[in-house]
């Protein structure tokens, strides 16, 4: 497909030096194919040469569709006339386009930007070992650090770069793209901020006076400036990729649930879309330009209901919740705190007075971390229960006053825990030390590279982005140095712990911070640990058994977090039809090895997703891939999953019935071939088949989404199987993999309908983050000039998800081959085969015989 257009691209882009230097044979073959295709397949050339993407945060398709169809009584036109004109009359829209994974901005945009499976799993991620936080939404640190050159990209871009995942805009050279503010921003433009403020005040005195009287609106000033810049860039024939981010609807919908507010924001957005479209039409490249309207998720908002908040931080801080000091990256009651004016938002620790054993130590030993962004879900990390046990035992030993039998039992149990974990910890420590060694060497090389960078850049070099690339070398160096320090501290403490010996053990000579890492959660908890979490000393203190061992039942306060969370109910539930239980689902990832002995499946992926809505309402989501790498999923209903101390799982398979997680069986909108729901639902199906069957149900593509969110997805940069890798390269890849794995939470908690976990403030208007269709159903519309061949007035009802976005855009612009691999030029830039299907209805050769490009080029 893509090669059909490659000549056109070749005309306007410089052939890279590397391509020229490749083998003559390869070039001849390539040129021959190009000539052949030009002669034979001219009619199916994709002609989209320029793409303009309007990104709308949280714009739900259903809301847009409803208003587009609503007529303004004064004009008789649609109340969103531009969207109607551009996308409904002159373009195509996907009426069933969904977020894949959580309906949350950072993960969802990451997929829309890269076209690859999820690697970023939340708006905020925490590293369990170091509590390093990845706050993907905060612009301020970038703008502040950007002044002295210590940062150049948003945090999410840094992570994607470190994983070797290029974004759609990276398909275009630096001087051929124009990008605006977004959480995936490269290189902030301070001039935009400056000009937006200037423009705000350069207007007629009367206008200024009126606005001063009514209150200045600075927020819209930035959007106005961005639109102005984008329109200006549309006049530059060199620029082939432009985007514009608008976040107003998401903000408005979080706060207000009324139609008037929503419509007012949508009308403003519609007007901006009209301005952009008009500018495109006036430009010389109008015929070859396609304009896309895309959103990352919907919003669960209902004019008749206020979304109710439930405070998980408070629960975790309570005695019943474990008495945790809780870390968040959002300040609780932000708008009511003086400290809330700090735009950099450090780690926030909520100290509990109900802690069992960490009074006065909240800043050194927080034991829980919570990311509740999006608000219909929260990711929860708890400190490794074994670290709690060791910490408690050591404190008790240091406190003194234990009877001899209890003292001995305590010491035995202390070393018992270490011995039980020793093998794993030692293995991990060794691996970490090896990785840090490789990191040390990489830092040395990176420093050399940085020192070799030119200090000044010519205009041409700046246009090519070489100055930015140079800054990125420094940023990488700086980040590695920080990471090296943080992980080394963790490794040092772990090493100290492992070198303790029972023979020479003198509790009072041990400094706890030397063996129990401060500001660390340690390893992820097992299911057993989450079901038997050690939160504190039992009411009667430590108790020894007659056989001299420590009575673990009585000595500790144990909490089953699954029961605790699913048992939460509230009294102030004043809206009829809303459940008084704020928590709907809890999901977590299990290892295949734990599950295999209990099921009749063999060739499944390493990750199994366990989702529970109560002891008797649980499921496993299994996945596997065929020879072509196509993903298949199976939903296995189970009950009473538990794990014993030895790591053995137990559960009972149950039949399909109503009330299971995601409520698939009873959903009237389930669309399956045939009438036998049980039979169909019990089988393996590809993700496409599941999407087709589920997308209109209440939970929509939640089944696929849970797997996407919680499973690990292999990518080249994290793979260590390539035999050509040097040892250090392999270690650095393992290090990169470790960093991604360390941000995985213990559990994902999903809220009931119209509930949220926002403790930063209140979002009574609505929320997102869940797998409900209303939250995942998002917008993808496209329209183009005469030569783009984008269909007119087409409503595509086939369901697609966000994995399809990038490959579709690349296909339209002639950058994708039929096998979903990028063209060689993009391959060189790091793009790889895309797992999602192209929206074939948008392609000009849809339903026509294809001029196949498979094998026509030498596969990269």
């Amino acid at each position: 497909m893509s090669v059909l257009n490659f000549p056109a691209k070749a005309q306007r882009r410089k052939v890279s030096h590397q391509c020229i230097s490749s083998s003559a044979l390869r070039l001849c073959v390539f040129a021959g194919v190009v000539l052949f295709l030009l002669l034979t397949a001219g009619s199916s050339l994709a002609q989209t040469q320029r793409i303009v993407i309007v990104k709308c945060d949280g714009l739900p398709y259903d809301v847009v569709d409803r208003y587009v169809k609503q007529r303004d009584p004064q004009s008789g036109k649609s109340v969103l006339p531009w969207i109607d004109h551009i996308f409904y009359q002159r373009g195509a829209r996907l009426s069933n386009f969904y977020v894949r994974g959580m309906s949350l901005s950072a993960p969802s945009w990451s997929m829309l930007e890269t076209g690859q499976h999820l690697q970023i799993k939340g708006n905020v991620e925490f590293d369990r070992y170091t509590l390093h936080s990845y706050d993907y939404l905060n612009f301020f640190p970038l703008y502040a650090a950007g002044i002295n050159g210590s940062r150049i990209d948003m945090r999410a871009v840094e992570v994607l770069d470190s994983l070797g995942l290029p974004m759609l805009s990276d398909a275009y050279p630096h001087n051929e793209r124009y990008t605006t503010y977004s959480i995936f921003l490269r290189n902030p433009r301070y001039s935009t901020l400056q000009r937006s403020l200037q423009n705000r005040f350069t207007r007629s005195p009367k206008e200024l006076f009126d606005e001063w009287t009514m209150g200045f609106e600075i927020r819209s000033a930035i959007t106005d400036q961005l639109v102005k810049e984008l329109i200006s860039k549309l006049g530059d024939p060199k620029v082939h990729y432009l985007d514009l981010m608008m976040e107003d609807f998401d903000h408005a919908a979080h706060h207000n649930n009324d139609e008037q507010t929503h419509l007012a924001v949508l009308k403003e957005m519609d007007s901006v879309i009209g301005q952009v479209w008009t500018a495109i039409q006036k430009s010389a490249e109008a015929d070859e330009t396609a304009m896309v309207l895309i959103s990352d998720h919907g919003v669960n908002t209902d004019e008749r209901v206020y979304s109710q908040g439930y405070n998980l931080v408070k629960l975790l801080g309570s005695r019943a919740g474990g008495g945790h000091h809780v870390i968040t990256k959002r300040r609780l009651m932000l708008d009511y705190a003086i400290k809330g004016v700090n735009p950099f938002v450090p780690l926030i620790t909520t100290t509990t007075p109900d802690t069992y054993y960490l009074k006065g130590e909240s800043t050194a030993y927080p034991t829980a971390m919570l990311d509740f962004d999006g608000n219909e879900r929260a990711s929860m990390h708890l400190r490794d229960s074994d670290l709690n046990t060791l910490h408690i035992l050591l404190k008790e030993l240091q406190r003194g006053g234990l009877s001899d039998p209890v003292y001995r039992a305590t010491v035995d149990e202390f070393f018992g825990v270490i011995d039980r974990k020793r093998a794993d910890w030692q293995k991990d420590l060794k691996q970490l030390q090896n990785e840090l060694g490789a990191l040390d060497r990489a830092i040395v090389e990176q420093r050399k590279l940085w020192l070799a960078q030119p200090k000044k850049f010519t205009k041409e070099q700046q246009d090519a982005g070489l100055d930015d690339a140079s800054k990125r070398i420094f940023v990488q160096l700086d980040r590695w140095q920080t990471e090296q320090k943080e992980y080394s501290e963790y490794a040092r403490t772990l090493k100290n712990l492992l070198t303790l010996s029972s023979e020479a053990f003198a509790p009072n000579k041990v400094r706890i911070p030397d063996i129990i890492p401060q500001m660390s959660m340690g390893d992820r908890n097992t299911i057993y640990e989450l079901q038997n979490y050690v939160a504190g000393v039992g009411p009667n203190g430590l108790v020894a058994n007659p056989d001299g061992s420590l009575n673990l039942e009585q000595s500790f306060v144990h909490i089953n977090y699954f029961s605790l969370l699913q048992g939460v109910s509230v009294r102030n539930n004043v809206q009829r039809g809303i459940s008084n239980r704020p928590i709907d689902l809890i999901a977590t990832r299990l290892s295949r090895d734990l599950v295999l002995p209990l099921i009749n499946e063999r060739d499944i992926d390493p990750d199994v997703i366990w989702v529970t809505a109560g002891a008797n309402r649980q499921a496993l989501i299994l996945s596997r891939r065929d020879a072509n790498g196509e993903l298949s999923l199976r939903y296995l209903p189970i009950s009473n999953l538990s794990e014993d101390a030895s790591g053995r799982l137990q559960f009972k398979e149950i039949s399909w019935q109503a009330g299971l997680p995601l409520q698939i069986f009873e959903d009237p909108n389930l669309n399956i071939p045939g009438a036998d729901r049980t039979a169909w639902l019990s089988q393996w199906h590809s993700d496409g088949e599941w999407l087709q069957a589920l997308h209109k149900t209440h939970y929509s593509n939640g089944l696929i989404g849970l797997q996407e969110e919680l499973a690990r997805h292999d990518i080249e940069r994290l793979s260590t199987t390539d035999p050509k890798l040097s040892e250090d390269e392999r270690l650095m890849r393992e290090y990169a993999r470790r960093k991604r794995e360390l941000v995985e939470p213990d559990m994902l908690i999903v809220a009931q309908d119209h509930w949220n976990f926002d403790v930063r403030g209140f979002n009574p208007g609505g929320n997102h983050g869940s797998f409900f269709r209303i939250s995942t159903h998002s917008t993808f519309m496209i329209a183009g000039g005469a030569r783009t061949n984008v269909p007119h007035a087409l409503n595509i009802e086939t369901p697609y998800d966000s994995l399809s976005f990038v490959p579709t855009v690349l296909a339209l612009t002639g950058n994708l081959r039929d096998d979903s691999s990028p063209v060689p030029e993009l391959w060189e830039r790091g793009f790889r085969k895309f797992p999602g299907p192209v929206v074939k209805e948008l392609l000009p050769d849809h339903e026509r015989p294809k001029a196949t490009a498979n094998g026509a080029t030498v596969s990269p």
Partner: protein, 728 residues
């Protein structure tokens, strides 16, 4: 069964109050509460289903009980009879909240001689009891000058009368002038005058000049006579301003409720936005100078902001109630919006949690109920409700339902920035009053006594700024700038909310009067009488040819001033108006063609505003507007080009640039050629020299500039057939 008990309870209260007006409201409660599907209405329904136990013992209770026994005999018929007697006999559509709302709001139009109409919103009140008209009380009147026709293009909205807003009595005036006197003194009873309008929508700038004049007078003259005069006059002005504001707030709320009533409206959308936008801007010192084109946006923005605050406060209070093991109950306006909320404590929890040290009064601002011994022997108002095993409210008939006695702790206003505002503390009447007074005292002491000004004293400026920031940011219920709004809303809620138990309503309204700071305020019952009496006076004034009609005539003559005089003369007239305390208003002589001239002037303004709106709204107007409407406005302006202003030319030129429709572009050129202003000529010149414009149109523009077009522009008739239009 319980449906029939509601009117019976109400009848008992009527006996107490010697007033039978409540009865129909209680019936209304049942029919409304059960009739809607919205959650808020469902909650309302739930509220009505709960059982109330009135603990307070009154001497009339025994007689009432005997009467109750009698009434039980006829009770099955009562609701039917009363419904049939209501002014809206057909039962409301139970699925539509707007329909339910229309049962308590109605509109009345009275023709005013000389070509105007007086439009009045009446409400059927539950709290403000009138003695006639089945509790229908007029609340807001608006005068619309129609110039005697049915065309909306030449209408002009004039005065807004919140009918509960009245001239104070002498005693009230004297009390208002006493520094640090923060209480009501009496009700106004003698009512024989036409009420004062709160605002003139056609001349909002007058209010601005008036304010500026008084500020100048205060600072330059009155403040120099020493603290007593300064404090006294400042206090008087403050009370006057607050009194007016509180009635404007209620007028706004009434209009917003009316707007929620679906069906034919006598106000166009833009008129409604203009009324509400102007009323909102009356709060700002320079609000009257804001251009009309911003009113719609400003109203939308403020409405959004209010709803945002309401939702946040709703959720803040609900979560705080949850944290403290209390119960939260939103109170609803008839349109289903929750503007206030009650906080309850369950008696059973008082026993269980007695002595609990964990209570945090943050945001709730009421004393710890778990250590308050008075609650264990509470003699005040109590309600019985039923809960299931999960603490969810249920009907008494629900199996396993547990009866729980509930004590109200506080009533909060939700229409307030940042925090819910405590308006009633059922255990401490002076708690909200102290909070209410905090800002007033601070201002009065610093400004009137210590003569400290933010602009003249740097340390005070810094200290005050920090204090305001901290109290505002932290959400502390002291020093809050907007109590007036919430307090004013509560009075309306008490009058319109039908879900409150009458006994509770009575208790709340009694307490509300105690927290009022303004000597000008009248109580709820007095206000009902004031509204009715003032409305009657206003109607008589409207029907009198020498009354409102004559005033209208004078206003029209004043409206002619800009058509006759230039900017300097108008400025001089304004100065004279201000210096004469508004007594002098320049008016033109009465002329036979006055109405015709006003008709054209207003229509020109209407079409110019429309074109400005069109020009500003979209990058390409063809997509967003009906071009026939646009051309009609352009043609009207062209036809009256000699009277059109340069802003009409600017809008026309902008439309030319933003349309691709040839007919509309030609109409624009024709319009520009006929508008007598240099702006129009320069725009034509610009078009004629713009190479991006089609040559034919450029040539046409050049022709117009030279005098007469060679090719006449083509316009469409109403039927769509082309007609030839030439130069005038």
């Amino acid at each position: 069964m319980y449906i029939n008990l509601q009117p019976l309870r109400a009848w008992i209260l009527q006996l107490k109050n010697r007033n039978l007006g409540f009865l129909s409201d209680s019936v209304q409660t049942c029919s409304l509460g059960c009739s809607t599907n919205s959650p808020s209405a469902r909650f309302c329904c739930y509220c009505e289903r709960r059982r109330m136990t009135i603990r307070s013992r009154r001497h009339w209770h025994l007689r009432a009980s005997l009467f109750l026994a009698f009434l039980l005999v006829v009770s099955p018929l009562s609701s039917t009879i009363i419904r049939a007697q209501g002014p809206n006999a057909p039962e409301a559509d139970k699925s539509d909240p707007a329909s339910a709302l229309s049962q308590i709001l109605r509109l009345e139009r009275i023709e005013v001689p000389g070509g105007a109409e007086l439009i009045t919103v009446h409400a059927r009140l539950a709290g403000l009891e009138s003695t006639e008209n089945d509790n229908w009380v007029p609340l807001v009147s608006i005068l619309r000058d129609t110039l005697g026709d049915n065309d909306t293009e030449n209408n002009r909205l004039r005065y807004v009368w919140p009918l509960t807003y009245t001239r104070p009595t002498m005693k009230q005036r004297l009390a208002a002038a006493i520094p640090f006197f923060y209480a009501r003194v009496e009700n106004k009873e003698k009512l024989d005058k036409v009420p004062p309008p709160a605002i003139d929508l056609a001349a909002p700038e007058n209010e601005v000049w008036n304010k500026i004049f008084w500020v100048a007078l205060q600072n330059i003259l009155l403040d120099t006579y020493g603290t007593p005069i300064k404090a006294s006059t400042s206090s008087y002005r403050r009370n006057t301003s607050d009194y007016r504001r509180s009635h404007i707030i209620r007028a706004l709320s009434v209009l917003a409720l009316y707007q929620a009533v679906k069906g034919e409206s006598v106000f166009t959308q833009s008129e409604m936005a203009a009324i509400q936008g102007r009323l909102l801007l009356s709060d700002k010192t320079f609000g009257g100078l804001v251009d009309d084109s911003h009113l719609q946006n400003y109203y939308t923005k403020k409405t959004t902001q209010t709803r945002d605050e309401r939702g946040h406060n709703w959720e803040l209070l609900r979560q705080r109630a949850e944290s403290e093991s209390l119960y939260f109950e939103p109170l609803l306006m008839p349109d289903g919006s929750a503007t206030h909320a009650l906080l309850w404590v369950a008696k059973r929890d008082l026993v269980k949690l007695q002595g609990s040290p964990r209570y945090s009064s943050r945001f709730l601002n009421v004393a710890n109920p778990w250590t308050d011994k008075r609650l264990l022997n509470w003699k005040g108002y109590v309600e019985t409700r039923y809960f299931d095993s999960e603490n969810q409210p249920v009907d008494s008939e629900t199996p396993g339902a547990e009866a729980v006695e509930m004590i109200p702790l506080g009533l909060y206003g939700l229409d307030n920035p940042k925090i819910p505002m405590l308006l009633i503390d059922f255990r401490d009447s002076y708690n909200p009053k102290k909070r209410e007074m905090s800002r007033r005292v601070l201002n009065d002491v610093t400004h009137n006594m210590l003569s400290l000004s933010k602009f003249g004293n740097l340390p005070f400026f810094l200290g005050r700024t920090v204090f305001d920031f901290v109290t505002g940011r932290r959400g502390m219920d002291i020093n809050q700038p907007s109590r007036l709004h919430t307090y004013s809303q509560l009075k309306l809620l008490l009058a319109l909310n039908t879900s409150l138990e009458p006994e509770l309503r009575s208790e709340v309204s009694g307490r509300v009067e105690k927290i009022s700071l303004n000597p000008f305020e009248n109580d709820l019952h007095a206000e009902a009488n004031i509204a009715t009496a003032q409305y009657n006076a206003l109607v008589a004034f409207a029907k009198d040819p020498t009354g409102l009609a004559a005033k209208l005539d004078r206003d029209r003559r004043a409206e002619l001033t800009p058509l006759e005089h230039g900017g300097k003369a108008r400025l001089a007239f304004s100065v004279l108006n201000v210096l004469s305390f508004g007594k002098y208003v320049h008016r033109e002589e009465l002329a036979a063609d006055m109405e015709d001239r006003l008709d054209i002037a207003r229509r020109l303004q209407y079409h110019t505003s429309f074109l400005q709106q069109v020009a500003k709204s979209s990058a390409e107007i063809d997509i967003t507007w009906n071009l026939e409407d646009v051309r009609r406005s352009i043609r009207f302006i062209a036809a009256h080009g000699s009277d059109a202003r340069s802003d009409a030319a600017a809008a026309t030129a902008k439309i030319f640039a933003r349309t691709r429709d040839d007919e509309t572009r030609r109409a624009c050129l024709d319009g520009l050629a006929r508008i007598h202003s240099s702006k129009a000529k320069s725009e034509l010149l610009r078009i004629s020299q713009n190479n991006e414009v089609d040559k034919a149109l450029r040539d046409l523009a050049s022709e117009y500039l030279r005098g007469a077009p060679r090719v006449q522009p083509v316009a469409a008739t109403v039927s769509g057939a082309p007609v030839i239009t030439g130069q005038p």
